[in-house]
Every structure is written in structure tokens, then in C-alpha cells.
């Protein structure tokens, strides 16, 4: 059962990472325009080179 000593902290930190990721997306306005984001990914603007 000693494996729990590793597994539980790993589980929690991975979950916490997800939560931090979610809070970051929320703070950087990523839920403001769901339709627009779905459409933007289909543009070919960045196919040749990424944004400067």
C-alpha cells in the first residue's frame, strides 16, 4: 500500500494542474466567444508562418 504515498499526491497535483489551467482560460477571456474560436481554427492565416 506504500504506493499510495506516491499516487495520491500525483493524482492531486495533476488534478490541480487541470484546475489552474481552467482558471487561466477563464481569466484570459477564453469563454467569451465560443463560436468565433470554433471558426478561427479553420482559417488559413497562420498556415505559412505563425503570428509575429
Amino acid at each position: 500500500m506504500n504506493i499510495l504515498a506516491y499516487l495520491i499526491p500525483i493524482t492531486l497535483s495533476l488534478g490541480g494542474l487541470g484546475l489552474v489551467g481552467f482558471l487561466w482560460t477563464l481569466r484570459s477571456d477564453q469563454y467569451d466567444d465560443p463560436d468565433g474560436d470554433a471558426a478561427r481554427i479553420l482559417r488559413d492565416d497562420y498556415d505559412d508562418h505563425p503570428a509575429d
Binding site: T11, L19, L23, L26, D32, G36, A39, R43, D44, D47
Partner: protein, 728 residues
């Protein structure tokens, strides 16, 4: 070949056919001191539109950042302060997009976005905690014991307690608000269940107990927050669309300074200023005409569909539309003091009346909250007696009862349904502004319509185009071309469908408020009011050398879908009354055309109010559909009200539902969906009741375990959410 390329030629939006524009990246950042401009872009609909708009605007000098929001069909642009909005809208018009500047002040007054985001954050935190605790709980349920179980419980507590304090705050706040005024709402049992469950579980864990309800407390928080968030988002979408409608009317006026008109914001106008009102514009203020003659469309104020002639010294009201000639108006009152704004008080009275409406959720809570508390208390007392005073055991059972009865399904029952219903209505072009509007709409048993502007578009059509001699028609059309008057426009429209002889009319002049005159074949031809163009008589005529040749008859154009709407309402057996401020002859002709037996004409605003009061006194639930100021008071009194998007701002504010679509038959869909939604809500309450009937005895007699609570709660929530999807 990319996906955007395959759009070419298939899509309805201009941007999709114009992807091959010069590439310029939107990489510049907003700079200090830039002005923020919001534009409404109703026609954008795809990825290519975003690219075209963003690139097109970035190419303009002085623009430092552009961001298109496709969900809201809006663009936010950062420009140098000296650049006018017109430059931007012109550039977009050249690219093929309609754009209208939105008033920033009106837009930023809308704070509900922040509330929705706050709920979403709490929801995310609750979801994270719930999943982790559930993971640990499953280990306990599948047989972990002794030290392992205690360890898992302690870790659960460490995750659950901070989450419960943070994420469930909206419930505590609401519960406290209700308790402070000695009332019970749904949030009281919710808060109590969450806090007691957490506290009791902590106590159990500290004493190495078997059961901890951390996962139940967290799932309760999560599911209820989900309901709360759905509710908030539905209303945010409707409200932001409604705000946008208001922001489209940028409050400006043309002030005359030394004879030169300059655009100023309404708030800068003072009493005594002189403003210029061009033909086609709405009166920005109440005032007195100093110079110019014109005709006014007063339909918004009185319901009259015929234009009214005005000349110097006449009084005009804010909201009236100037039709023919430019007017110089001396400001008598502005902003809050205008007649238009005096209605604001009335609207707030109506809002108050509506907030007193007892929604289904309120009524359920009124029964539910005390019942839950009594039940939990009874369980405690009973087990105290049975166990001979074992407080810990009895309290455990009481808490289990409270958690199990706690209205997870009830918390979702209403928001899930109203989200689906409002979403369906939004796609049909209806904005549900008020939280209880759908429920009230489902109870409607009488419908009252205004005519002008509501069932008609406020634009005349020529009735007797078939009876007019071709040469007369050609003359009239040639004259009418020179005028922007709605009746002239309709003559031109009607003429386009006919093979008319060519006539050469020269020297055409429009005399505002009277008509248009010209020279043809050496004779004076005139189109306009009978008493001006010819001799005596009524209506619009064509006269040659003072002799009336033809009379033109007009009727207000029916809105699309009106026939269909009335057919449906007849099928439903709903009594419909047409109540209009227009003249009897106009209303009668109209009512006959749509086959409506019950109509009233020449009704003053106060009489409309009395009519509504009488119906209310008879216990009728009235749906009032109207657009004008003359309807606003009556709409405020009605059980539920709908206004078209073309209505005045004040009227839209008073209305519970705004019809964005130009097709009035959508009102029928609204009625159908509202009734379906009400049925689904009642079914959901039934599901919740059934669930309680099974679960409560279990908990009450001490058989409930955290596992059974978790299963029961999720099952009922899922059933309720799935049932909500059946709203159609």
C-alpha cells in the same frame, strides 16, 4: 485547399467569397490613449468573415487592434482618438458588411457577464473537488478500512472543506438574505445541508467514523451551481442582445451653432438650444418647431398610421419621426424630462409587479423548504428516542435525510428547462428578457395586439395600383422619385412592376408637408395632399393643372407571418382583440383583411390601460403585443408582453420578450414553447417528488449510506436534465 476555400460560392456572407485579400496580420497591440469602439456586425457568420473584417480594419491608418466576437456578432476596435466611427463603418461597407456603432456607455452598463464568469469559476472549482473526492470515496466504498479509510477521509476533508467554503458562497449569501427578513427560500435547506454534511463528516472523520458525506456535499454544490450558471447564462445572452438593441441608438443630435449643424451627444444639449432634425430622423428632444414644414410619423406616440402635418410653432415630442422636410427645433426639454422618459417611472412600477409574480420554483420552494427541515428534525427526534439519547447517531441520520432530500433535481428542474426553451426561442429570433416570462406566457388566455408598427411595418403600400391609368401612374412615379416620403416610396415601388410610358417631367420640387410638383408638357403636375394639389378632397392625389386625375389609396403593409399567426391563435381558441389608436376606417379595413372580428379603434393610451385593468379584474391572463409609447402603460399592466425590435427603447424595456425576427408568426412558436416548457418543469418536479418518496424513507430509517446518496442524487439530476431537452 483549405476548408475556408471550399466555402467560396456556397456561403451567403460576402467574406467567404473574399478570402484572397492582401495578408496583413492583426499583430499590432492596442496602444496607450486609444479609443475603444464597438461595432455591431449583424451579417458576419464564418471564419472568413472574421479574417476579412480584422484584416480590412487593421489596414486602415490609426487602427491599432481589432477583435471580432462571432458569438455576439460584434467587433471591438482600438483606434487613435481622432478617427471617426464613420471611417470604420465605411471601410466595412466597402468590404460588404453592415456595421453600426454601439454606444459604449450603454454596453458597459451591463455587468451580468461578470456574475456568469464568477459562477463558472466556482463551478470549475466544485467540479475539480467533486471528482477528486469521489475518486477517494470509491476506494472507501469498495472496502478500504481502518487507517487507509481514515487517510482517505482526511484527504477528502482537506479538499472538500475549502471548496465548500468558496464554491457554495452564492447559496450562503442568498440564504442569509432570506433568513434576515425571516423568510425561507430554496437556498436555506441547500446551505444547511451542505454545511451540516461537511461539519458532521468532519466530526465523524475525527472520530474514525464509517461514513463521510464530503462527496455528497460537493456533488450537491456542483449540480446546483450548474443550474445557477445555466440560469445566469441564459439571461446574460438575452440581456446582452437587448443591451445591444439599446446601444444601437447612439444618443446624438445635430445642434445648430451659428447656422452650422454639429453632432453632439444628447447629454450636452441644454434647454433653449436649436437642433436640426433631418428627414428620416427621430426627434431627439421635446421642443417647438422654429423653422420648416414637414410631416411627422406619430405612430409611436398615438398609434396613428397617417402622417401628421406640422409647421412652425407646433410642439414635437421625442420619439416622433420626421418624414419630409428638415426642421429646426428649439429644445424645450431633454433627456430625463422628456415625455418619453416620464414613462420610466411607470416601467419600474411594472417591474416591481412582475418581481412579485410567484414562479413555479418559488411555489415549490415554499412547500419544500419547511418540509425538508421538519423531516430532518423529525428523524433526529425519532432516533434520539429510539437510540436512547445517542446524539451522534441521531444527528448522522438527520444529516443523511437532509442531504438526500436536498433538491438537487429541484435546483436543476427549472434552469435546465428554461435554458433549453430560451435557447430555442433565441434561435427563432425571440429574446426572453425576464426570468419568469416563459412561465407567464404559458398561462396566457387572452391576446391583445396593437396595430401600427406591431402587425404592420409602418410603411404604406399602394392599394389601387391596378385602377390607375398608365400615364397618370407614370407621372406620379416620376414625381414620387424625388421624395423620401413613405407614400412616394410606395408609389415608386408599385410602379416598378408595371410597363409605364416614359414621361419627361422637369422642374420637380418638393414642398414639405404638402407634396411634389413639376412641369410636364407645359402643364403643372402635382402629387400630394388633395387640398394642396387640386381643390377640395381628401387623401393623396395626382392633379394636372389643378384638376384631380387620380386618387391613390394606401394601406399599411402587413408584417410577414401575421396571417399565419392569427390562424394559429384561432386554432388554439385564444380570443384576440385588436386595440389601436388609429382611425376607425383604417382599423376596420385592416381587421377585415386579416379576418379579425374583435377590434377597437381610436383608443387613447389611458383607455388602453383601462381596457387592460378591466380584463385583469376579470381574472384574465393577457398577452399584450405592442410597440409604441401608447402601448407601454398597457404592456406594463399585462400578464406578459412582447415588443418587436423596432419598438422604442422604453417599450422594449417594459416588454418581457423582444421579437428580433420580423416574422410575427414566431409569437405562436413562443406560446407553444412556453407551454411545453411549463409541462417539462412540472414533470421535473414530479421526478423530484418520486425520487424523494423512494429515498426519504431509506434515509429516515437509517439505511442511507454515502454511496446510495451519491447514486440517487446523480440519477435524479441526469433524468431531470434529459427531460429538459424534450422542450420543443
Amino acid at each position: 485547399m483549405t476548408i475556408t476555400d471550399t466555402h467560396i460560392g456556397l456561403s451567403a456572407c460576402p467574406g467567404c467569397d473574399a478570402t484572397a485579400l492582401a495578408t496583413q496580420r492583426a499583430s499590432k497591440r492596442a496602444q496607450q490613449g486609444d479609443r475603444e469602439v464597438a461595432l455591431s456586425l449583424p451579417t458576419i457568420q464564418c471564419a472568413a468573415c472574421i479574417s476579412v473584417v480584422e484584416r480590412g480594419l487593421m489596414a486602415l491608418p490609426g487602427v491599432s487592434d481589432v477583435r471580432v466576437n462571432l458569438t455576439r456578432k460584434r467587433a471591438t476596435i482600438y483606434v487613435k482618438p481622432d478617427i471617426d466611427d464613420v471611417v470604420l463603418t465605411d471601410a466595412l461597407a466597402a468590404l460588404g458588411y453592415d456595421a453600426q456603432p454601439l454606444d459604449q456607455a450603454t454596453l458597459s452598463a451591463n455587468h451580468s457577464d461578470r456574475a456568469a464568469r464568477d459562477l463558472l469559476m466556482r463551478l470549475g472549482v466544485a467540479g475539480f473537488a467533486m471528482m477528486n473526492v469521489m475518486l477517494l470515496s470509491v476506494a472507501v466504498w469498495s472496502g478500504a478500512s481502518d487507517a487507509t479509510r481514515d487517510l482517505f477521509h482526511w484527504i477528502s476533508a482537506a479538499i472538500a472543506l475549502p471548496t465548500i467554503i468558496f464554491a457554495a458562497q452564492p447559496f450562503y449569501v442568498n440564504a442569509w438574505r432570506a433568513l434576515r427578513v425571516a423568510r425561507l427560500n430554496m437556498d436555506v435547506p441547500i446551505s444547511l445541508a451542505i454545511l451540516l454534511a461537511a461539519g458532521m463528516s468532519l466530526f465523524e472523520v475525527a472520530h474514525s467514523g464509517d461514513h463521510a458525506y464530503f462527496d455528497a456535499a460537493l456533488s450537491l454544490t456542483f449540480f446546483l451551481l450548474a443550474g445557477r450558471y445555466l440560469d445566469q447564462r441564459t439571461r446574460t445572452v438575452a440581456r446582452s442582445a437587448a443591451t445591444e438593441l439599446a446601444a444601437l441608438e447612439t444618443p446624438t443630435a445635430l445642434r445648430l451653432k451659428d447656422g452650422m449643424p454639429q453632432t453632439v451627444s444628447l447629454s450636452e444639449l441644454c434647454v433653449g438650444d436649436l437642433v436640426l432634425v433631418r428627414p428620416g430622423a427621430r426627434m431627439p428632444v421635446d421642443g417647438q418647431i422654429m423653422r420648416g414644414k414637414s410631416e411627422l410619423d406619430r405612430a409611436f406616440l398615438t398609434g396613428e398610421s397617417d402622417p401628421v402635418f406640422v409647421c412652425p410653432d407646433d410642439i414635437v415630442r421625442a420619439g416622433e419621426i420626421n418624414l419630409t422636410g428638415p426642421l429646426d427645433v428649439r429644445v424645450m426639454s431633454v433627456g430625463k424630462d422628456t415625455f418619453l422618459h416620464s414613462l420610466a417611472d411607470l416601467i419600474s412600477v411594472a417591474e416591481e409587479a412582475k418581481s412579485r409574480y410567484n414562479s413555479l420554483a418559488d411555489r415549490a420552494a415554499a412547500i419544500y423548504a419547511p418540509a425538508v427541515h421538519l423531516l430532518a428534525f423529525a428523524a433526529f427526534v425519532m432516533w434520539m428516542y429510539l437510540s436512547g439519547g445517542n446524539v451522534r447517531y441521531s444527528l448522522n441520520i438527520a444529516v443523511a435525510t437532509l442531504i438526500i432530500t436536498c433538491p438537487c433535481a429541484l435546483g436543476l428542474a427549472v434552469p435546465a428547462v428554461s435554458t433549453v426553451a430560451s435557447g430555442a426561442l433565441f434561435r427563432l429570433g425571440l429574446l426572453v428578457k425576464h426570468a419568469t416570462a416563459l412561465e407567464r406566457l404559458a398561462e396566457v388566455d387572452t391576446v391583445i395586439f396593437d396595430k401600427t408598427g406591431t402587425l404592420t411595418v409602418g410603411k404604406p403600400t399602394l392599394l389601387n395600383s391596378g385602377d390607375i391609368a398608365l400615364q397618370d401612374f407614370a407621372l406620379a412615379a416620376a414625381l414620387a422619385m424625388a421624395s423620401a416620403h413613405p407614400r412616394s416610396q410606395s408609389i415608386v415601388d408599385a410602379a416598378q412592376g408595371q410597363a409605364l410610358p416614359t414621361v419627361a417631367v422637369t422642374d420637380i420640387k418638393e414642398l414639405p408637408g404638402h407634396g411634389i410638383a413639376g412641369c410636364w408638357d407645359g402643364k403643372r403636375v402635382a402629387l400630394g395632399r388633395a387640398d394642396w394639389a387640386g381643390s377640395a378632397g381628401h387623401g393623396t392625389v395626382l392633379a394636372v393643372d389643378g384638376h384631380i386625375r387620380t386618387t391613390f389609396e394606401f394601406q399599411d403593409t402587413l408584417r410577414a407571418g401575421a396571417d399565419q399567426l392569427f390562424a394559429h391563435l384561432r386554432d388554439r381558441g385564444l380570443p384576440v382583440t385588436l386595440v389601436s389608436g388609429d382611425t376607425a376606417s383604417n382599423v376596420e379595413a385592416f381587421a377585415e383583411a386579416i379576418g379579425l372580428p374583435d377590434w377597437r379603434a381610436g383608443v387613447l393610451p389611458t383607455e388602453k390601460v383601462q381596457f387592460l385593468k378591466d380584463l385583469n379584474a376579470k381574472g384574465k391572463h393577457v398577452l399584450m403585443v405592442g410597440d409604441g409609447l401608447n402601448d407601454t402603460a398597457a404592456m406594463a399592466l399585462a400578464h406578459v408582453s412582447i415588443a418587436p425590435a423596432s419598438a422604442l427603447d422604453a417599450t422594449r424595456v417594459a416588454a418581457d420578450i423582444v421579437l428580433i425576427s420580423s416574422d410575427v408568426s414566431k409569437i405562436e412558436d413562443a406560446l407553444r414553447i412556453a407551454r411545453s416548457a411549463r409541462r417539462r418543469i412540472l414533470e421535473n418536479f414530479g421526478v423530484a417528488a418520486c425520487y424523494n418518496m423512494i429515498a426519504v424513507p431509506f434515509a429516515f430509517f437509517g439505511f442511507a449510506t454515502p454511496l446510495s446518496a451519491a447514486i440517487a442524487m446523480s440519477t435524479s439530476s441526469i433524468i431531470v436534465s434529459l427531460n429538459a431537452l424534450r422542450v420543443r
